[in-house]
Each structure stands twice: as C-alpha cells, then as structure tokens.
Point group: C2
Chain length 225, copies 2
DNA sequence: TATAAGAGAGTGAACGCTCGTTCGGTACAT
DNA sequence: ATGTACCGAACGAGCGTTCACTCTCTTATA
C-alpha cells in the first residue's frame, strides 16, 4: 500500500532499469542465437551491451537466469504476434484465397522471428528442451481457444467426413511454418524445387482438393489412361 | 598397386584404427548432441571413449574436425536409411493404406535418429548451418531421383489438375517428419490433441480428400447441413 | 533548507577453474 | 631402426562468478 508515495523514485528508476535490461537482453539475444548458450560468454554480452561484467550480475543472478529471461520475453512476444495474425483471419479458413493469406501471415511471423526459433533449438540441444517443452503441449487446445467459434462456423458450412476442422487447420498451419522455416533458417532456398509462389499454390491445392486419384467420384470423371 | 603386399600391416592396423575412431565418434556423438558443441569438452569425449586427450588429436586435428566427421558420418547413415525406406514404397503412393505405411516408415526414421536432428540444430545455432546447408538444397530433386519412375506411374493413374506428384509427395513426407519431430524431439506428447493413430488418420484424410467444402463437385454429393 | 544516511546501478580487477591444443614420452609391431 | 597408436602433464587463454568500490539519486532528520 502507498508504495507509490513512499517510493516515488522507483517509478523513474524502474524506467532506467528496464531500459538497461532491454539493452542487455537485446545484446544477449543477438549473441546467444548466433553462437549458442555455451559458446557465448558474459564478457561478450557485457561488451556488446555497453555495460560491465559485474553489472550483468546485478540484473541476473546467473548466466542461465539471463537466458531464461530471454526465453520468457521472446516466447511472449512471439505468442502475441501469432495471436494477432490468427485473429485477423475470418471464418472462411479453408478457401484457397484465405489459405493464401494464411501462408503470407505465417511467412511474416516466421521470417521476422528467426531468433525465436534459434532460441528454441538452443534449448533443445543444450538444455534438453527444459524451458520450451510446455509450448508444445496442448497446441491444438490453443488453436481451439483462439479460433474456436470461427472454426465451428466454418465446420457448419460443408461436409467434413471424418475430418476435424481444428486439426486440419493446425496441420495446414504447421506445414506453412515448416516450409518457411526450411527456407529461411535452414537456408534451403527453393527446397521444394519451385519458386515460393508456386510452392504455396501447390500446398493449398493439395490441402483443399486432396491428391487421391482413387477417391470416390474422381475415377469416373477422368480417364485413368 | 600392391599396397596390400607392401604394407600388410596397414590392413590389420586400419581395422584397429577404425574401431578406435568408432569408439571416439560414438562417445562424441552422445555428448555433443546432449550439450551442444561449445558445451562439450575434449576431456569429456576422451573420458567417455576410454582414450586420452592426446590420442584424440592423433585422429582429428581439431575439435571442429571431429564434429565435421560426425556430421558426414551420420548424414550418410541417415541418408541411406531414408533411401531404404523410400525404396520400399510401391507406386501406389497416394492411396490411404500406402500413406499409412509411409507414416510408419517416417516414424521409424525420425525416432531412431534423434541425434541426427540434434546435430543439425547444433550446426544451425553454433555454426550458422555451415555444414548442413547443402542438405536442404534441391530436396525435391533428390525425391525425383529416388522416386521418379514410380511417381510417373502414379501420376498417369489419375487426374492431377495442377498438382505435381513429386511436390505433393514431398509435402506429405515433410508433414509426417514434422509431426514425429515435434512428438519426440520437442516432447510435445500428442501435440495435435489426439492420439498418434488418429492424428495420422486425419493427416491422411486431409491429404487424400482435401478440406475445401466449396470444391467443385462436393457440394451436390453430400449434405451441407 | 541543508545535510547525513541509505539504496542500488554500475565498475573492473581478481579468483579458481576449465578450455583447446601441444609435446616429449612409452609400447609395440614391422 | 622405423613408424605409429597412445598417453598425460603442461601452456596460455578464457570461462562464470565474486567483491570491494564509486557515483547518483531519494529520503529522513536538523
């Protein structure tokens, strides 16, 4: 109670502290994601952020605590960006034009946050996925929460057979993520052998129309030979 | 020529050398993939392999050379395994039953080689993808080479619209890989919210039948409500 | 209003330790 | 004798972390 009156300084100071931590974390992120956790020294981070080694330990008890701070910060930032992108999609998810928009959105989210994925990979190989594991549990529940109502409306619009709309959407989303991850982070320029536009086109066609020539009605409409 | 006669020892010795290197590389792989490149010391590798530090340098000029040897070895091993699995698939690729077999095969390849993927992630974050980048270029060309004839036969069997069989197959393959990678390496147990069997079932359904309720003939054949 | 006391951001030398790598050496097969 | 797989102490550099310190504000007291 009344802490704002008893300590008016904290409000001003906190802004400086946050600015310093921002500087430190920006520098740390840059180096960690390019050299890995064990390949990065506190001295490098200190030098790049413009602070002394000692001061780093005023803000973060250990090197790992600094790393964890980065994980939390960029996890939240990425989560917000993803939620924003998914929020802008209307309930016509599965129409080709809408999937094209989804692909473009995924491209932005993936290519604008390469360091988020690098952080994830660092955690996987150097910490046994200790800090990120929770992200991958209940992924579809998250999708359900964010897209639930709209997906139900989409589901009511057509025949779905045994296909679950939420699952279908998550799989399509994942396919786009994988495509752009390989293209950017793994430097597989045109890894599918065709330009991006064509690759996306093909993915959408596959997802919307399917590829099974033997499907119920198709066999009779086109010559098999 | 005649080196086998001039140097009979080398043949015998080489076997010992290969056995030693095998021991070293097995130990190195285990530690590298659990702690990253910079998080692993030559002393640890020496201890785990049962050799001295000095002897490691008789076989590998530097620590990075040892790492590169691992990359080449396991890249080849993984490539062979993948080729074997793909070779066993007959030319009815896109039938649900066949895709189910493909999913099972991908599951084996992914879950039996988690360290291959860890090595890849290490290279991405600690070496800027220096050693693995070439793997991701011309991926579909590789698929074309391995599956070419069979895919052409499959292509001749049905109507494909604008869909390229090779691309379709690669995308399906990638989707399965992604699914099992997330399940095993990223510990996202049932990350799609349903058991594996159901998830694979849904993926296959999506790929074979598509999900677009508005597709040409579907509206009239099934009740939309 | 002037001032002493306190809190805490920032510093960098120093500590104990581990790192990758080197090198003089042994043991043994040819 | 020659070559080589193997050893392990030693080297210089660099690591994460600590600590005694300064400087700048805020707050309490006179």
């Amino acid at each position: 109670m009344g802490s704002a009156i008893l300590k008016p300084m904290t409000a001003i100071k906190n802004r400086d502290v946050e600015r310093s931590r921002g500087k430190i974390e920006r520098a740390a992120m840059k180096i960690f994601t390019r050299q890995g956790y064990h390949g990065t020294s506190m001295r490098e981070i200190a030098g790049a952020s413009g602070f002394s080694i000692g001061n780093l330990y005023n803000h973060y008890p250990t090197k790992e605590d600094l790393f964890v701070a980065l994980v939390r910060k960029y996890e939240q930032r990425f989560g917000e960006q993803r939620a924003k992108v998914l929020g802008e999609i209307d309930d016509t998810f599965f129409q080709p034009a809408q999937l094209e928009r989804l692909a473009a959105a995924v491209k932005d989210v993936v290519t604008e946050n390469p360091d988020y994925w690098r952080l994830l990979y660092i955690d996987v190989v150097e910490f046994g996925n200790k800090h990120f594991a929770h992200t991958f549990r209940g992924w579809s529940e998250q999708a359900e929460r964010v897209l639930g109502e709209r997906l139900e409306k989409a589901a009511a619009r057509g025949p779905w057979g045994g296909l679950t709309p939420t699952l279908a959407f998550t799989m399509i989303y994942l396919q786009f993520v994988t495509y752009y991850l390989v293209e950017t982070l793994f430097r597989g320029r045109q890894h599918l052998g065709v330009p991006e536009k064509e690759a996306v086109n093909q993915m959408i066609r596959l997802f919307t129309e399917g590829c099974w020539a033997g499907k119920q009605g198709a066999g009779s409409t086109a010559g098999a030979e």
